[in-house]
């Protein structure tokens, strides 16, 4: 149907009831014979109805404005700076710990969920035959949360990475300094046969969660549940919470 000014004015006249009685009758007769005309009328009726809701239109316009503002702010703020802000807030959240979590509303945001499940892999109190001062220092730094120095030490001296437990330390250090991909690599290098495999899987699941890769996270959680070990219960809880989001 060709849209002409004449047609539109007739439709509007009909919708606003400003046509004469004869004109209305003629128009209705025309519509009865022409379904396309009838459809055009209904379309415009709906258009008028929707767009006369000025409040909603204004609201939508406001959202567009706010969105543009946020984008502008984000492009302005230095990404390096915000990266450290994020890293710092995660550490703070971890430090304040569970006490705070109990008081917070249940939040269903991945990073919140991550923070409520994540605890750094604890240092095992094992005395090692080959203990050196340097090794002791790494463990000490790790347990005190000086993750940067743990990373720089271990990255420099590859020979230290002799056990899979050290990979867990290194992976956790990466995880706490915003290097999730590197963390994953360490966790993934722990072999299937290892007794640390389940632990490594648990941290893998958390790392993917932190990255927002929930499908992967869920996959690994299922694996942990099937394995039926010490992380089973936590994995089930996390899976349930994740599925609720």
């Amino acid at each position: 149907m060709e849209r002409t000014q004449e047609l539109f004015e007739k439709i509007e006249g009909y919708l606003t009831q400003t046509l004469s009685k004869e004109e209305v009758l003629a128009f209705e007769k025309e519509m009865a014979e022409d379904s396309e005309l009838k459809r055009e009328l209904e379309k415009q009726r709906e258009l008028h109805k929707v767009l006369s809701d000025k409040d909603t239109l204004d609201f939508k316009e406001k959202l567009q404005k706010i969105s543009a503002e946020i984008k502008k702010e984000q492009s302005r703020s230095n990404t390096y700076f915000s990266y450290w802000k994020i890293a710092a807030s995660i550490i703070i959240i971890l430090g304040v710990g569970t006490l705070l979590w109990n008081n917070l509303n249940k939040t269903n945001n991945f990073s919140d969920l991550y923070a409520s499940y994540y605890k750094p892999y604890p240092v095992e109190d094992v005395t090692r035959g080959d203990t050196t001062n340097e090794w002791e220092e790494i463990v000490k730094n790790y347990s005190e949360g000086n993750y940067d120095s743990v990373i720089s030490k271990l990255e420099k001296t590859n020979s230290f990475i002799t056990s899979e437990r050290i990979r867990l330390y290194l992976g956790n250090s990466y995880l706490n300094t915003g290097k999730e991909r590197e963390a994953l690599l360490q966790f993934e290098m722990i072999s299937d046969a290892s007794r640390y495999r389940e632990t490594a899987n648990w941290y893998r699941a958390l790392t993917h969660l932190k990255l927002g890769e929930t499908n992967k996270s869920l996959e690994i959680l299922k694996e942990i549940i099937n394995y039926n070990g010490i992380y089973k219960e936590k994995a089930m809880q996390l899976k349930a919470e994740l599925s609720e989001l």
């Binding site: 400003t18 709906e46 258009l47 509303n105 249940k106």
Partner: protein, 194 residues
């Protein structure tokens, strides 16, 4: 909904409080964006869905039909997910895998039926807001129920020119709306139903 913090957010949304809305936007956008990008969506889809879901919530608040017993976030996320799934379905890309698209059926069941109805309205608004300022002005006056004499007086146009302008603006609006693939789909569906 007795939580005072949540109350404040709802009140902010209904009154159009930019500070409250902006805070809500910032806090929740990334999650929705992540969800949509993970489920075959683009950046632009994420923004549309997020805003349209807020519009749905706004309208419900205004008409006083918002009755929720879950947190605002849970409710809002459910609206977003349903809008996106409805759009995906129209794009015929939806893979029905409950593990892929994380859902909470319980909190959603009472939202779903509304979404479809609202979808067409969202298309109308989207294209209206993309019109030129002059078109928006004239058409707003038309939709507010002004006659051509009044419109000519308010805009300062000659009446004949105002008529012509109104026609051109409305025609281009309708043409744009009909070009939207989402609108096409909606039309087909609603014709089948009738």
């Amino acid at each position: 909904m007795n939580n005072p913090k949540e109350r404040k957010i709802l009140e902010g949304i209904i009154s159009g409080d930019e500070v409250v809305i902006k805070a809500f936007y910032k806090k929740n956008y990334n999650y929705i964006r992540g969800y949509i990008l993970q489920n075959s969506g683009e950046e632009e889809d994420a923004e549309d869905v997020f805003q349209d879901a807020l519009v749905v919530m706004y309208q419900k608040l205004k008409s006083d039909t918002l009755d929720i017993n879950v947190s605002i976030r849970t409710y809002f996320y459910a609206i977003c997910k349903n809008i996106w799934r409805s759009r995906l379905r129209k794009k015929r890309k939806l893979i029905f895998d409950s593990e892929l698209i994380l859902v909470n059926e319980e909190s959603e069941q009472y939202i779903i039926e509304d979404i479809e109805k609202k979808e067409r309205e969202q298309v109308y608004r989207k294209y209206f807001l993309r019109l030129s300022d002059a078109c928006k002005e004239v058409l707003s006056l038309v939709f507010a129920g002004n006659n051509m004499k009044e419109i000519a007086r308010i805009t300062g146009y000659a009446e004949g020119y105002a008529r012509k302008k109104k026609f051109e603006c409305k025609k281009s609006l309708l043409d744009n709306i009909e070009k939207d693939p989402m609108y096409q789909e909606l039309k087909i569906i609603s014709e089948k139903e009738s």
